[in-house]
């Protein structure tokens, strides 16, 4: 276990909280966050492993469900117990484990848990202060409850996809599972809300978290603008979505000699842009910067075309102009800033002993952020059954013979 950046004396924030994690795919980020805050997160998965484990990247592109990149990151700090949840005995085991835990995270299709006898109502009837957080694409009820979602479908219906991309081309989805992972952040937050509410009242709760809501939450400003002035925002490439001519510009990405830079003006002093890029004729365009965006691009591009991104950003930042480099993943791995902060960590997984991965989501002065490697499938089956349920070696051998556990 590594505790980062601070010598901390106190136990982690969620130490003593037990979480059962039944999620799949990028929804697993919720459990990762709670493990980071110190909860004991028990991942219940089948013997084939959570589908997350089947999704790369894999070293040399060879599939290894113990060592996929997404699994190593999103399951970091969890324990794994392997149970055949399709069997009645497996379902009973899961119920008994949940009976000894505080929080359940799940992302099955709405209604599935009811079919295996693990619905919130049925669990809460004997475990009255249980906190369950259910994640899904569209929510646990309503006309779209049984619709099928995916990242790109969720961002489509959530209004997010139409706002991303160039105006003259089809909309383009954001990288990877951006909204699903953000949904999992909402779920982790909901879990802590539930824990605090339970601290205050002793009551449990059931949270229904939907990816389409997370998409709308992410849009932020343009939603309020619509309510206020009826303007329906449209995708605007790398420019901001507020298109009034007097609005700030540049805030965009432009090519330079060796790649791209993010170029950004200064709300209080646009003239700094003319100090950075002198004698190219920018000054007359600043009265209505957004209205002159095409012309500003044209002038900037010429200036940028002879300079590399690190030089451009250095010159701009000396003037307090918030320009930054558009970094590639290779460049990020060499980045001196992340290295000095110890952000990328090696969790010494036996199958990936030299791999670096994102560490803390936050640093706290008195309580640690827990970084621990992801578990092998069923690595903690014996330990959890023994310590949590008192199931001894003989009984476990029996369950193994029947294929209930692995």
């Amino acid at each position: 276990m590594t505790e980062q950046a601070h010598e901390t004396k106190s136990p982690a924030i969620l130490e003593g909280i037990r979480v059962v994690d039944l999620t799949t795919g990028s929804f697993n980020y919720a459990g990762r966050l709670l493990a980071g805050l110190g909860a004991q997160v028990i991942k219940i998965e089948s013997t084939e492993g959570d589908p997350l484990r089947h999704w790369g990247p894999f070293r040399d592109d060879k599939k290894d469900i113990e060592a996929g990149g997404r699994h190593l990151h999103l399951d970091a700090g969890k324990r794994s117990i392997s149970i055949d949840i399709d069997s009645l005995e497996g379902q009973n085991l899961a119920r008994n484990i949940i009976g000894n835990c505080d929080v359940v995270l799940e992302s099955f299709e709405p209604g599935y848990l009811e079919t295996v006898g693990l619905s919130f109502e049925s669990l809460a009837s004997s475990h009255t202060n249980l906190i369950m957080v259910s994640m899904s694409h569209f929510g646990q009820s309503g006309p779209y409850k049984d619709y099928h979602g995916s990242e790109i479908v969720d961002v489509a219906i959530g209004g997010y996809l139409r706002l991303t991309g160039e105006p003259d081309r089809e909309p383009v989805k954001p990288y990877d599972d951006l909204v699903i992972q953000h949904t999992a952040l909402h779920a982790a937050t909901a879990a802590v809300v539930g824990i605090m509410h339970r601290d205050n009242t002793g009551e449990g709760d059931w949270f229904d978290v939907a990816a389409i809501d997370a998409a709308l939450f992410l849009i932020g400003g343009p939603t309020q603008s619509y309510f206020f002035n009826g303007r329906v925002a449209q995708r605007n490439g790398n420019r901001l979505l507020f298109t009034e001519p007097q609005y700030l510009y540049p805030s965009t990405i432009r090519p330079c000699l060796d790649g791209y830079v993010h170029a950004h003006g200064n709300n209080r002093n646009q003239d700094l842009l003319a100090v950075l890029m002198p004698d190219i004729g920018l000054e007359p365009l600043f009265d209505t910067p957004m209205g002159n965006a095409d012309k500003i691009d044209e002038l900037m591009d010429l200036w940028l075309s002879t300079r590399d991104k690190f030089e451009v950003v250095r010159l701009a930042q000396e003037l307090r102009l918030p320009f930054t480099e558009v970094l590639t993943p290779e460049e990020i791995l060499q980045d001196p800033h992340l290295e000095e902060r110890g952000f990328l960590v090696n969790l010494e997984h036996p199958l990936e002993p030299n791999l670096l991965q994102p560490g803390h989501a936050a640093l706290m002065s008195e309580t640690p952020w827990i970084n621990q490697r992801a578990p092998l499938i069923g690595e903690h089956t014996d330990e959890i059954l023994q310590t949590l349920l008192g199931i001894d070696e003989e009984e476990r051998a029996e369950l193994r013979d029947k294929g209930v556990i692995e």
Partner: protein, 412 residues
């Protein structure tokens, strides 16, 4: 919403831009009393594009801007000049009566104002302080200036968003800010719980870059595992094909479709009236469909172009295939699923009347969430703070106003 998670928790918010204010909104929605502190000279008196005042309400355009109202819903507003010695003293007295202080000033300004964690801890030993710097309070980029989209650029997100033959891209709006704001709310709640149990406050440092980079792990690992240079992949998916955004009937109308399995592919082939391609060996498995993705896209789009996005969505969903119309914001707000989830909450603003706000993505059985209320009018908590919390006399309050340290309207 009785006994909300943050009942009786008082948060002082000294934030600008987007991430800090978002954190404050979420904490307010969870029951905290959030007092935003704003400089008396910090806001323009005129606000083009603000909706008109309701009948009988004063005409204060500065209270009616969209951006301010979105980012500060549910909070109170104290207008206070922290640069003035008396203003700073009022702030410090308020800290004695607070649980959490949130700021996202640059490290230099916090030092200059003398309100860093070490100072505030002397005044209230169990205070929880939260900083939300762009890059963190150490390292070579500590003092770099940047807003959300600039952080997106440095996280790798811009490089990875867009088409392979196009420029790096910006996802919709301020991903990095909204993400950091919610992560801050999560850790603040955790820190409050820790303090409730142990009596110990603490300092939380939430670097926006590091919150965002939790998303970039797959690309970073592909570099380390395969010496590959991950690039943009447009609307494609490495495990599902076809996946894309397809043009529909009408101008700028689209549907998104994901085919997850070979069986879904065969269903799709039949639905689009091309049963022969279901049996075509080129498309029979994922690898084949990835190789021939462009050909498939053309076939799918020939079909979607004859339908509205909703029609295409309904047909695909009817066969169990994930599909969704690309909704405009106005369409999303009237969409039956958002309506069912009460995603929009209407709150009444004293000068504008009723407006909807969007809320966090969870609904709880105990109704332990919501939207705390409208954004504050300028200085609406001045009297509450000075009279009720700090017992300043009428004369003292008038003097503060005369000196411009506290103000009921922007002074700019």
């Amino acid at each position: 919403m009785s006994a909300q998670a943050l009942n009786k928790i008082r948060v002082l918010e000294l934030t600008t831009a987007v991430a800090g204010p978002v954190a404050g909104c979420v904490l307010a929605d969870m029951g905290a009393e959030v007092i935003k502190i704003e400089s008396p000279g910090g806001r323009s008196l005129k606000s083009p594009g603000a909706p008109p005042p309701i009948e009988g309400a004063p005409d204060h355009p500065y209270n009616r801007t969209a951006f301010f109202n979105e980012l500060h819903r549910g909070k109170k507003l104290l207008s206070l000049d922290l640069k003035h010695e008396d203003g700073k003293n009022i702030f410090l007295q308020l800290v004695e009566n607070a649980d959490v202080v949130m700021e996202n000033f640059s490290p230099k300004i916090v030092g200059r104002l003398g309100i860093d964690y070490a100072e505030l801890k002397k005044i209230k030993n169990d205070i929880i302080c939260v900083s939300m710097p762009a890059f963190g309070k150490s390292g070579p980029y500590e003092s770099r200036a940047s807003y959300g989209p600039g952080i997106d650029a440095m996280s790798g997100l811009s490089h990875l968003t867009g088409f392979p033959d196009g420029n790096p891209g910006k996802p919709a709006q301020f991903y990095c800010d909204q993400n950091a704001g919610l992560t801050a709310a999560l850790t603040v709640m955790g820190a409050v719980r820790h303090r409730n149990r142990t009596g110990q406050g603490q300092y939380i440092e939430l670097a926006m870059l590091e919150g965002e980079m939790q998303l970039i792990a797959p690309a970073l690992m592909d570099v380390m595992m395969n010496s590959r240079s991950p690039n943009r992949t447009g609307n494609r998916h490495d495990r599902f094909a076809p996946q894309g955004v397809y043009r529909c009937k009408g101008e700028n109308e689209w549907v998104a479709i994901t085919v997850r399995t070979d069986i879904e592919w065969q269903s799709l082939a039949n639905l689009i009236g091309k049963p022969e391609i279901a049996k075509d060996n080129r498309f029979i498995d994922l690898d084949g469909r990835q190789i021939h993705h462009e050909d498939i896209d053309k076939l799918v789009e020939n079909w979607t172009q004859t339908l509205t996005p909703q029609e295409a969505e309904t047909v695909m969903q009817g066969a169990g295939i994930p599909a969704g119309a690309l909704l405009n914001l106005n369409e999303a707000f009237t969409h039956p699923q958002f309506q069912h989830r009460n995603t929009l909450v209407h709150v009444e603003h004293p000068e504008m009347g009723t407006f909807p706000h969007t809320r966090t993505a969870w609904r709880s059985k105990n109704k332990n969430e919501g939207v705390a209320g409208p954004a504050p009018t300028f200085g609406n908590a001045n009297k509450y703070v000075l009279s009720d919390l700090l017992n300043f006399s009428q004369e003292e309050q008038q003097k503060l106003k005369d000196l411009g340290i506290v103000s009921d309207a922007p002074l700019s």
